[in-house]
C-alpha cells in the first residue's frame, strides 16, 4: 500500500528522487566536526520561533493601550502562556548564539572561500533579516526598553542623506514611536520569519550545489563523502539534544536573563530610562555606532561593520587550505577578532562615559583594521608558510591545489 502510494506520487512529483538527492544520498564530508552542527540548529530554532510566535500572536494585542497587559495575560492566564513566551524570548537570544557560532565557524575554517561566496552572502542576508525581525519583535512587549530602543534605532535613519526626516517618519508612521509603529512592527514581525524561511531555502539550494566545506578545507574525494542520512541526521540530532538541554535550563530556570528589568515597566514616552541598552546581540554594533562622534559616520560604520563580512572571499587571498587550522597568523587574527567583538559588546553595554569611550574607539579601529590588513597578511602568510615548507599532510592537500582554481577549471563541486 505504502509503496503503491509512493509510486503514485513519484509519477506526479519527484518525491523519492528528491529525498535521495537531498538526504539519503546527499554526499557530506565525513570529517565534519560538531561545529558543523549549528546550521541545522539554526533551522530548528527558526521553526521553534515560528511555532511559538504563531501561538503568542493568538493572544497578543498590537495596541499601545493593550500590548503590555496582553503579555501579562499570556504570562498569567493563558494555559502554558508563560512557556510559550519564555521559549520565544529565550529563543531570540538562542538564535543569535547559534548564528554567531555558525558564522565564527565559517570564518575560522575559511568556508566562505570559493566556491562558497554565494552561500556566504545568502547567509549574510539571513543575518540581516534575523536582525530586523529581532529588532521589531523587541518592540512588541511595549516595555520601556522596547519603546526607547525602537525610538533610538529608528532615529538612526535620520542619517539618510537629504530625506532623513521623512524616512524616519515613514518608518514610524508617526513623528515618534507610537501605535502606528507598533502595529506595523507586529505585521512585519509576523512576515519576516517567512521571508527568512524563503531565504533559508535559497541558502540550502546554494549549499547543496557547492556542498559543505570541511575542516581540511578542500573538496574531498568521493570516498570520503558519506550520505547525509543516516550519518549526519544522527549526529545533528545528538547535537540538538545537547543544545536543548542548555536552552531549557534558561527557559525553565533563568528565563529573565535576557529580559531587561526596565522592560517590565510599561512604555512611557515622557520618561527616558537612565540607560538605554539594546539587546546583547546588538551590543558590539551599537558600540561601533557610538564610537564615531558624528551621527552619520556612526551609522555608516555600524552598517559597514555588518556588511563588510561580504568581502571576506576577496580579501582572504591565501590558498592554504583548511582555514585557521593550518594558518597560524590567520588563527591569531581570528581569536583577536573574537576578543575584539567581546570588548565591543562590553563597551556597548556601558554608559558612554569615562574609560568606555576610548576603549570603544580603539576596539572599533581594530575591528576594521583586521579587514583592511587581511589581504596583505593572508598573502604574506601563504608565501611565508610555503617558503618555510609546508608539513607533509598540508603539502599533499596543497598539491591538490586551491579550491578556487579547481572550481574555475570546472572540476569542483562533486
Amino acid at each position: 500500500m505504502l509503496n503503491k502510494t509512493i509510486a503514485w506520487i513519484d509519477q506526479r512529483f519527484p518525491l523519492t528522487s528528491f529525498v535521495k538527492h537531498e538526504l539519503t544520498e546527499y554526499p557530506t564530508p565525513r570529517n565534519l566536526s560538531y561545529w558543523w552542527n549549528f546550521g541545522f540548529l539554526a533551522g530548528f530554532v527558526l521553526v521553534l520561533q515560528i511555532a511559538t510566535g504563531i501561538f503568542l500572536a493568538m493572544h497578543y494585542k498590537a495596541d499601545i493601550n493593550l500590548a503590555f497587559d496582553s503579555i501579562q495575560h499570556i504570562m498569567r492566564e493563558v494555559n502554558y502562556g508563560w512557556l510559550l513566551r519564555y521559549l520565544h524570548s529565550t529563543g531570540a537570544s538562542a538564535f543569535f548564539v547559534v548564528i554567531y557560532v555558525h558564522m565564527a565557524r565559517t570564518l575560522y575554517y575559511g568556508s566562505y572561500r570559493a566556491p562558497r561566496e554565494l552561500l556566504w552572502w545568502t547567509g549574510q542576508m539571513l543575518l540581516l533579516l534575523l536582525m530586523a525581525s529581532a529588532f521589531m519583535g523587541y518592540l512588541l512587549p511595549w516595555g520601556q526598553m522596547s519603546y526607547w530602543g525602537a525610538q533610538v534605532i529608528t532615529n538612526l535613519f535620520r542619517a539618510t542623506p537629504f530625506i532623513g526626516d521623512q524616512v524616519v517618519i515613514w518608518l514610524r508612521g508617526d513623528f515618534a514611536v507610537g501605535d502606528a509603529t507598533l502595529t506595523r512592527f507586529f505585521a512585519l514581525h509576523y512576515l519576516f520569519p517567512f521571508l527568512i524561511l524563503g531565504a533559508v531555502v535559497i541558502h540550502l539550494v546554494a549549499l547543496h550545489t557547492v556542498k559543505s566545506s570541511n575542516p581540511s578545507g578542500i573538496n574531498l574525494a568521493a570516498k570520503d563523502n558519506i550520505p547525509f542520512h543516516p550519518y549526519f541526521t544522527a549526529k545533528d540530532f545528538f547535537g540538538l539534544g545537547v543544545y536543548l538541554i542548555v536552552f531549557c535550563v534558561f527557559v525553565f530556570f533563568l528565563p529573565d536573563t535576557f529580559i531587561e528589568p526596565a522592560n517590565n515597566i510599561p512604555a512611557n514616552p515622557m520618561q527616558t530610562p537612565p540607560h538605554i541598552v539594546p539587546e546583547w546581540y546588538f551590543l558590539p554594533f551599537y558600540a561601533i555606532l557610538r564610537a564615531i562622534p558624528d551621527m552619520f559616520g556612526g551609522v555608516v560604520a555600524m552598517a559597514l561593520s555588518i556588511l563588510i563580512f561580504a568581502v571576506m572571499p576577496f580579501i582572504d587571498r591565501s590558498n592554504i587550505p583548511g582555514g585557521a587550522r593550518y594558518r597560524p597568523v590567520y588563527r591569531i587574527m581570528f581569536y583577536a577578532f573574537i576578543a575584539d567583538v567581546l570588548v565591543l559588546g562590553y563597551v556597548g553595554a556601558q554608559p558612554p562615559t569615562g574609560f568606555a569611550v576610548p576603549l570603544g574607539q580603539v576596539a572599533t579601529f581594530i575591528y576594521f583594521a583586521m579587514f583592511l590588513l587581511l589581504p596583505f597578511i593572508s598573502k604574506k602568510e601563504e608565501q611565508w608558510l610555503r617558503a618555510r615548507g609546508l608539513p607533509p599532510a598540508l603539502q599533499e592537500l596543497f598539491e591538490q591545489r586551491s579550491p578556487r582554481q579547481k572550481w574555475n577549471n570546472g572540476e569542483g563541486g562533486k
Partner: protein
C-alpha cells in the same frame, strides 16, 4: 520642529538623562522565602499597607487562594471586594497626582522591574533614614516620594530586626506576584531536563551505532 529631533539625537548617544530611579548604595542581597506562612504575612503587609497608594492590577483576590492562602484569610483581606476583583489601589490616580505629584507605580511587576529584583524591594523598604539635613530620604532611591511606611527611620535595633522580617516577607510576596508561575515552571523544568538528558544519551548511542557502520 527641530528641537525634539535634537533631543533624540542626544538620546541616540544614550546619555544619562533624568534618572527614573537610582541605586546609589549596594543592595542587600536576599533569598526570597517560599514558605507559605511568610508569603501570607507578606500578602497581609502588602494588602493592608501598600494598596493604600499602589495597585497590583494583574492580581485578583482569587489568585491569593492559588498561592495557598486559606479562604477565610483571603476573605479577610478582600474586605467585601469580589473574589475576581483586581487588587487595585485605594487611591484614585488623580488624587495621588495631587498629593504626591506622581501616580505611585503598580507593584505587580516591581520585583522584576528593578535591577536586583526582590533584593531591591527589600533594600528600598529598609532604606529610609533621616539625612544630615534632617530630611527623610531613602538610600536606595534618594528623593523618593514614598513615605517611610514601615517606620524604619525611627526604629530602634530591636524593632529593626522585626522590620527586616516584614520587609523580607513583603518582598517575597511581591516576587511571587511578579512571577506566580515560577514554581510550576521550575517543577516542570526538572522533568524536562531529566527527559532531555536521557534522550540525549540515547541519541548519542544511536549516533555511535550508526557511525560504527563506517570503515
Amino acid at each position: 520642529m527641530k528641537a525634539p529631533w535634537k533631543a533624540m539625537g542626544l538620546l541616540l548617544l544614550s546619555v544619562v538623562t533624568i534618572p527614573a530611579w537610582a541605586t546609589e548604595i549596594r543592595l542587600e542581597k536576599i533569598r526570597v522565602s517560599a514558605d507559605l506562612s511568610a508569603l501570607e504575612r507578606g500578602a497581609e503587609t502588602v494588602v493592608t499597607m501598600c494598596l493604600g497608594c499602589h495597585g497590583l492590577k494583574y492580581m485578583k483576590y482569587r489568585d491569593l487562594g492559588k498561592l495557598g492562602i486559606a479562604q477565610d484569610k483571603v476573605d479577610a483581606l478582600r474586605a467585601g471586594q469580589a473574589l475576581d476583583a483586581p487588587l487595585l489601589s485605594q487611591m484614585p490616580a488623580d488624587v495621588a497626582l495631587q498629593s504626591f505629584g506622581i501616580v505611585p507605580p503598580d507593584l505587580s511587576l516591581i520585583a522584576k522591574a528593578r535591577a536586583g529584583g526582590a533584593s531591591y524591594v527589600y533594600s528600598f523598604l529598609l532604606g529610609f533614614h533621616v539625612n544630615a539635613q534632617g530630611i527623610p530620604d531613602n538610600r536606595v532611591f534618594p528623593g523618593t516620594k514614598m513615605p517611610d511606611i514601615l517606620g524604619v527611620s525611627s526604629a530602634d535595633d530591636a524593632q529593626r530586626a522585626e522590620l527586616q522580617g516584614r520587609a523580607l516577607d513583603a518582598a517575597s510576596f511581591l516576587a511571587w506576584v511578579a512571577d506566580p508561575r515560577a514554581e510550576e515552571r521550575r517543577n516542570m523544568g526538572k522533568y524536562v531536563i531529566a527527559y532531555l538528558v536521557v534522550l540525549t544519551v540515547l541519541l548519542y548511542l544511536v549516533k555511535r551505532r550508526v557511525w560504527a557502520r563506517l570503515k
